[in-house]
Assembly symmetry: C2
Homo-oligomer: 240 residues x 2
């Protein structure tokens, strides 16, 4: 088994986009594909590592880019500049997600009829928006996502199955916000489940946030491990 | 592999108790033990089947009895009579749970240092009470449990790890009740996670409730299957 990478550059709404595709070249034929959607900082090596981890599980994965080629930030003032642009235009974000999904589906290693999306932080919001807007994925997993709704109506019924992995102490997703999300998904007819992890906050999967002193925002080993296990179960059921 | 059963009759607070112990006699030596705590109806074949399913997973399991020998009910008016007695005396319930746990630990097939509890409906409340009162289990899983607190203080810290599997539409556990439970468990220092399942209500694991027309109370195949998978992951981690 050897997990391989290739850089994917594609056009989309508003410009050119660059991400990294990973697959196991010891496997023959097309396999389910998973879009990996980055957090606030944009496309980066941590996302590529997630794509490789999915490739090692037998999927093909694309750590995508919705900001635009070269548009990445660091943890510093101004880190949200590209995310802010997307949050201000959720229809554009949706269309960029559609372009990323199309790029994933175009890869010869991918079975275009069997795809899913996972995302982290802002990328978790993107997963929800893909389901809300009816983009053609079978399901999605949000890790410490953000739950505010876009300014367009949800498709009805929402056919993408959803797993939402949430840190109970996340200041960006208070318990009442999570309750509202559950109601939204129920009202939309989605097949959904929410996993809430005690003593975990925002960014619980983010190794770069180990030792963070920001209240409610830090890596948390147990929630990281358990949510990744839950994702594996979810994908196995989704693609069975 | 052959899963065996034996009837266990033991004394406890207020009388004599009778349940069914199950284990795989193809496995040598002591293995982790799991207490299976019945729902409102008391000890019955459905609980024995859960114990056998746990035995097939390599555990030893005791489908226990906290009502007292012969005290079982059917789905009909008066079905809650024994449960009502226990709800009116949570300290007695705790002591009966301790007696059930002791009976499990006394079996030669059980590693008494590695035990857990699972429970359904009222039995889910019992799992929480075992954690709240500091009974000596490493962890517990509540399936569509009931979340009202007993009239004694929780141990601090609460050392039993907990998985709470909850149907979002459960009329016995409204979203705000689940939020309160999460806060209670966080305040107690427990290592906890809550899984909420969309379109599932109370009794989602209960095959006898297939086709139920009671709002929010019915078997739900997806939540049953997913919660059982989550339990397997939980126990594997707990006993690793």
């Amino acid at each position: 088994m050897a997990v391989e990478r290739r850089t994917l550059i594609h056009d989309g709404p508003g410009g050119r986009f660059e991400g990294v595709f990973a697959w196991d070249d010891a496997l023959a034929g097309a396999r389910p594909g998973v879009l990996v959607i980055p957090n606030i900082l944009g496309q980066k090596e941590e996302d590529n590592a997630k794509a490789e981890a999915l490739a090692a599980l037998g999927y093909a994965a694309f750590a995508c880019d919705v900001n635009g080629q070269g548009k990445r930030t660091q943890r510093s003032p101004g880190s949200s500049r590209y995310m802010d642009e997307m949050n201000a235009d959720r229809a554009l974000l949706r269309d960029r997600l559609a372009a990323s999904l199309a790029a994933l589906k175009a890869q010869p290693e991918v079975d275009a009829s069997r795809t899913a999306a996972i995302g982290f932080c802002f990328g978790g919001k993107c997963v929800l928006d893909m389901a809300r807007s009816g983009l053609d994925v079978l399901g999605g997993v949000s890790f410490h996502g953000v739950y505010d709704r876009p300014d367009y109506d949800n498709v009805s019924p929402m056919t993408a199955k959803l797993l939402i992995c949430h840190g109970r102490d996340d200041p960006l997703g208070k318990p009442e916000t999570v309750v509202s999300l559950g109601q939204e998904l129920t009202d939309s007819g989605a097949d959904w489940r929410i996993h809430a992890y005690g003593h975990a906050g925002h960014a619980f999967t983010d190794h770069s946030m180990k030792g963070s002193t920001t209240p409610g925002v830090a890596y948390e080993e147990r929630a990281d491990r358990r949510s990744w296990q839950a994702m594996q179960n979810f994908l196995a059921e989704l693609f069975a």
